[in-house]
Each structure stands twice: as structure tokens, then as C-alpha cells.
Symmetry: C2
Subunit: 321 residues, 2 copies
DNA sequence: GTGAAAGCGCTAACAG
DNA sequence: CTGTTAGCGCTTTCAC
């Protein structure tokens, strides 16, 4: 910076002013042009570390999800990134792998990095870390999974309602023998989806048909095979997330066991590409982009100092049958 | 930091030493314990901005892909992140959306942020930016797409060979009337895959059966429908990437048009979950995790000062029939 | 083994 | 409109 100041015979502060866009009505536009020109020639880039150290804002946020390679989280992250891009923020993405220790460790690193805000999908027991973030005065908004008790912004869908609607549709279509497959994770969305399933079946007088199968995260393949066998006589199978659905399909293809082709397959999350299958495919679609938008705009408000009470923003998921 | 120094009646440098792990044989272990204890109590986190400004390393790398919500890039990014995590690096992920202007702009921001290195999937024409990164002395490795001419590390698969093997298998199975569908992007992997397809068909004396359909990126839906109609009489359809395959399936489900169920569907990238379909599904699987590992370890070597000539690391993709 | 002091590159008063 | 100056929080000689 000194360099470019010297070449023009002006002071560093003048250069700083124009380079940080705060030169309006302070630096003659002739000088501004010159500064920009020389900066371009020298292929100069401001040092954001120094700038951030000084100003206290890094213009970096972080998105912590379970696993970025998961379709739902990948899309969510993508849309958050696009919003961030518009607002001039870069985003550090992090995978917690549903692991509270990794989550905590990464949160620690983020505190050190002085990110301006965090959008997180908290893993089971993630509440403590979320609180820690807040205590450090860093804005945080949770997505997909709500941390009860905590006073923290939350964006998600009404899992119970959407799940209920979907299962009701199957029941209305005469299906009763519906099995449910879920990941063995104690997280609100999954719990709600299953609760709705049980409620609907119970209300339909088919409580005895309730069959739930929990697949351990990261142990999917070995357990899915037995699930498929167990659900052989079902009319329909309800997968509570895309991840479990995809793994089931993939696993089925590898092991040779397979679901009956006349089954109805219901999934929470968009699986429309699979509709070319013989199966009767139904699914629930979450408005991912809107959720991403809302989450980012909330975070931005907080970053800009909004102090009012945390909100709870519930979107409607759509059943496609 | 002063705070914790004061409480213990030592100087800031002593605290710095132990907090940055450089206290061995310099600070009494009693003092070290105390420092750590107080730091914990105060819930203190070093300010990495200041540290980085001083040391010149940010411990942040960046991964620039086309679109993180794309399955292939999502997995690639995920595995790079896991490697980075082990090495103590955080990663800024960026979507170029195949757009050279966005790519250039984001590269500019990264230069300012002083990231320690960049792993990039360059969009068409991305060569110039890659050169710019190198000129700034920032280590960079390219993945998936090779920038010819440039002296820059590259990690990818042998697209021609894998594609060739796959198409040869179809031909050996008696299929001749094979259509190819690809994204309308001028990038080496796609070009190579198609070149192999044409070569194989030509060598089999079926040059007249070559049928190529290019779908414009972001205009998929409208163009896929007509592709499906055009390829109605094919024995097989070869999709050059998972993205185009998934979009085709999804689009088919929305519009009602559909590929004949007795067709053979070949895809470059893993589509094993679709094998439960009636279609005869074949695919080519890239060793994503190994590629991610290689890319990161290469980058790390460069960050650590390795100056030797850029390498070209080709992995073998596996045909699954 | 410990402390004092300089400085990384930038911004923001404030004075001119 | 432009320049001088102090200092963001840390690391790192170098002297004690």
C-alpha cells in the first residue's frame, strides 16, 4: 500500500480510503482513478487479515452441516453460499459428521478465526456449543434441527405436519402395512416425522401395523439388507430422509436383495429422479432455497446488530404423490 | 492475552509461547499448566487474524468447484475437507457456477483473504485466473479438469480410457445404437469422454450410429425432453456425467416423457442407487476419495515449500457393468 | 526461563 | 481534500 502511495506521492491513508470505498467526497476523483489504476497495475490486493484485525469484521461466515456430500445439506449450503456471495461474504463449510466432539472442536476453531456469524445444523447434544457461540457474542442461526430451550434463531420446516400429510395420503390410498426406516439419530426432525407416522397409523386403527426400523449412521449397508427382508411384506416403506433412501437403493443394488416393485416408496426429501422406476414413488419436498435465504438474511440482521428475541421460522414442506 | 498474563503475573510473550505450543524447554511446566488453566477459565480463544497477520499463514485453504450441490463435487469437497481437518486447515468452499467472471472475482477475494492454498476445478477459460494465483505465490492444484499448457499440479482420472472401456463393453454386448448426452461445456473431461465414445463406435464400424446431444447448462429441463424423444429408438444412452443423468431422470418424471425401460443406461459417475430400476444400468466410478487425498497432500507439499515441477496425477476410473 | 519492544498491513480519528 | 499517528492482537528476536 505504501508502494502505491509512494508512486503517486500521496499518503497511505488516501490510498486506504479509496481502496476501501470510503473516498466519496474525501478524495478527488482524479486521485481515485490514479490509485485504482496503479493498484491494478501492481496487481495489488488488500490484505484482509490486517483489515479484519483492525475493523473487527472478517466478512467470513461459517456453515456447519452434518455432511456436505449429502444432497439436502449440499443444496442448503449451496444456496446459503449464493446469498453470501451477493452480500460479499465468503463461507467456511464444515462437516460435523453427526459427531459432537468434532462439532465442538470446529466451533472452537471458528471462534479463533473470528468469523462474523455461523449457520449450524447442530448434531445431537449440540446445544452446548451453540450456547458457547452465543456467549462469545457471535451471531448464530440454527437450521433444520431445533435446539429446544435455547434462545436462538431457527429455520426449518414443520416436520410433523408434512410427515402427517404424506402418511395420511398413503392411508387414504388404502395402504396400511407401512414400514418406516430411519437413521438412528435422536434429532427433532426425524423424531417428528416418525411421531406423525405413528399418530396417523394409530388414528387409522392400524397401530398394530407400526413397524419401525432404525439404521445406525455409518453402519447403513449391513443393516439395510436385513431391513429390506423384514419389510418384504409391506405395502409401502417410508424413508425419513433422502440419505437413508439412497443408501437403501444403493445397498439393494450391491447385495442383490431388493424391495418388491409393486411397493409404494415414500421419502422425506425430493427423490423425483427415481420416479422412472417401477415403484410408486412419493415424497416430501422441502423449500431448501427459501430456507437458505431466510437463514442467511437472519444471520445478516444479527451481524448488523439486530438484538431482538430469537425467532422460529417454519416453512411448509410439500407432499408430492 | 494481556488479561491472562496479568492474572499470573507473567508477560504476554510467555503466554503466547505456551498458547502456540512453542513453550517446550522455554517455560516451566508449572507456568504452562497455569496458563492453560486460566485460558480455559476465561474461555479464551487466540485471535487467528492477528496470528495470521503476524505469521503469514492463515491455515485456511479454499476449494473452488462448479457447484457444491452436485454429487461428484460434494463428495470431492467433503473428502478434501476431512483431509484438511486432520491437518488443521479450514476450508472456504466456493461455487463458480461454470462462470468465468464469478470464478475470477472469487479468486480475487481469496487473494485478499490470504488463503494458504487453493484447490480448483477451473471453469472453461479458467486458465488465466489459475496463472494469476500462481503469480501471487499461492499454491494451487487443479482437479478434474486439466488446464493444458499451464505448469500446475493436476489430479484427475483418465477420462478417455475409462469412457472407452465402458462403451466397448456396450458394443461387446451387441449394442450399436448408442446415443450420447452431454452438457454443452467445453471442458476436457467431457470432451475426452465423448471422443472415446466416437472412437469406439467408429472402430466398430458403426460411425453412422454416432448421435450426440448437447444440453445447455442451466437450461436442462427444456432440452432434455426433446433429447428423450430423439433417442427413443436407441438401444442405449450414455450420459457423460451424473448431473445430466439425474436431471434427465428428474425431468422425465416431471414431464411424463420417459426412456424405454429396456434401454441400457450408461453414466460416467456412480449411479448405483438407480440399479433397482428396470433399466439396465451401467456406470463408471471415479475414485473420489483418493483423488481428494492426493489433491490435498499435493497442496500441502506446496504450502510447505515444495518447488519441483508440477505433476499430473491420473487415477483409474472403474467400469461397473 | 522470562520480559521488553518492534512490527505484520491496515483503518480511523484528528489536525491541517 | 490530504497527511500524521495510534493501535487492532499476536509472534519473535534479543537482552536479561
Amino acid at each position: 500500500m505504501q508502494d502505491i502511495a509512494d508512486r503517486l506521492g500521496v499518503s497511505r491513508s488516501t490510498v486506504s480510503l479509496v481502496l476501501s470505498g470510503k473516498a466519496v467526497g474525501k478524495v478527488s476523483s482524479a486521485v481515485q482513478k490514479e490509485v485504482l489504476r496503479v493498484a491494478g497495475e501492481l496487481n495489488y490486493h488488500v490484505n484482509d487479515l490486517a483489515r479484519s484485525l483492525r475493523t473487527g469484521e472478517s466478512r467470513i461466515i461459517s456453515v456447519i452441516v452434518t455432511d456436505i456430500s449429502n444432497d439436502f445439506f449440499g443444496r442448503l449450503t449451496f444456496h446459503i453460499q449464493e446469498e453470501a456471495k451477493k452480500a460479499g461474504y465468503l463461507v467456511l463449510t464444515i462437516n460435523s459428521n453427526e459427531n459432537i466432539d468434532e462439532f465442538d472442536r470446529m466451533v472452537g476453531m471458528l471462534m479463533s478465526k473470528k468469523v462474523d456469524g455461523i449457520i449450524a445444523v447442530p448434531p445431537p447434544e449440540g446445544g452446548r456449543s451453540i450456547t458457547e457461540i452465543k456467549e462469545h457474542g457471535i451471531p448464530v442461526v440454527t437450521v433444520d434441527r431445533e435446539c429446544p430451550v435455547l434462545d436462538v434463531d431457527y429455520v426449518g420446516v414443520d416436520n410433523y405436519e408434512a410427515s402427517r400429510q404424506a402418511v395420511e395420503n398413503l392411508v387414504a390410498a388404502g395402504l396400511r402395512n407401512i414400514g418406516v426406516v430411519t437413521l438412528d439419530l435422536d434429532i427433532p426432525p426425524l423424531n417428528e416425522r416418525i411421531r406423525a407416522y405413528k399418530d396417523v397409523l394409530t388414528e387409522a386403527g392400524a397401530a398394530d401395523k407400526i413397524r419401525e426400523r432404525r439404521i445406525r449412521f455409518l453402519h447403513e449397508d449391513s443393516e439395510i439388507e436385513s431391513m429390506i427382508k423384514e419389510f418384504e411384506d409391506c405395502d409401502a416403506v417410508y424413508f425419513t430422509s433422502q440419505r437413508i433412501f439412497t443408501r437403501a437403493m444403493s445397498c439393494a443394488s450391491h447385495t442383490g436383495v431388493s424391495l418388491r416393485k409393486d411397493m409404494c416408496l415414500l421419502c422425506f426429501d425430493d427423490i423425483s429422479p427415481y420416479r422412472s422406476l417401477d415403484f410408486d414413488i412419493r415424497y416430501v419436498e422441502q423449500p431448501i432455497q427459501e430456507m437458505a435465504r431466510k437463514a442467511f438474511s437472519l444471520l445478516l440482521m444479527r451481524i448488523r446488530g439486530e438484538k431482538n428475541l430469537a425467532g422460529r421460522y417454519l416453512f411448509q414442506a410439500r407432499y408430492i404423490g
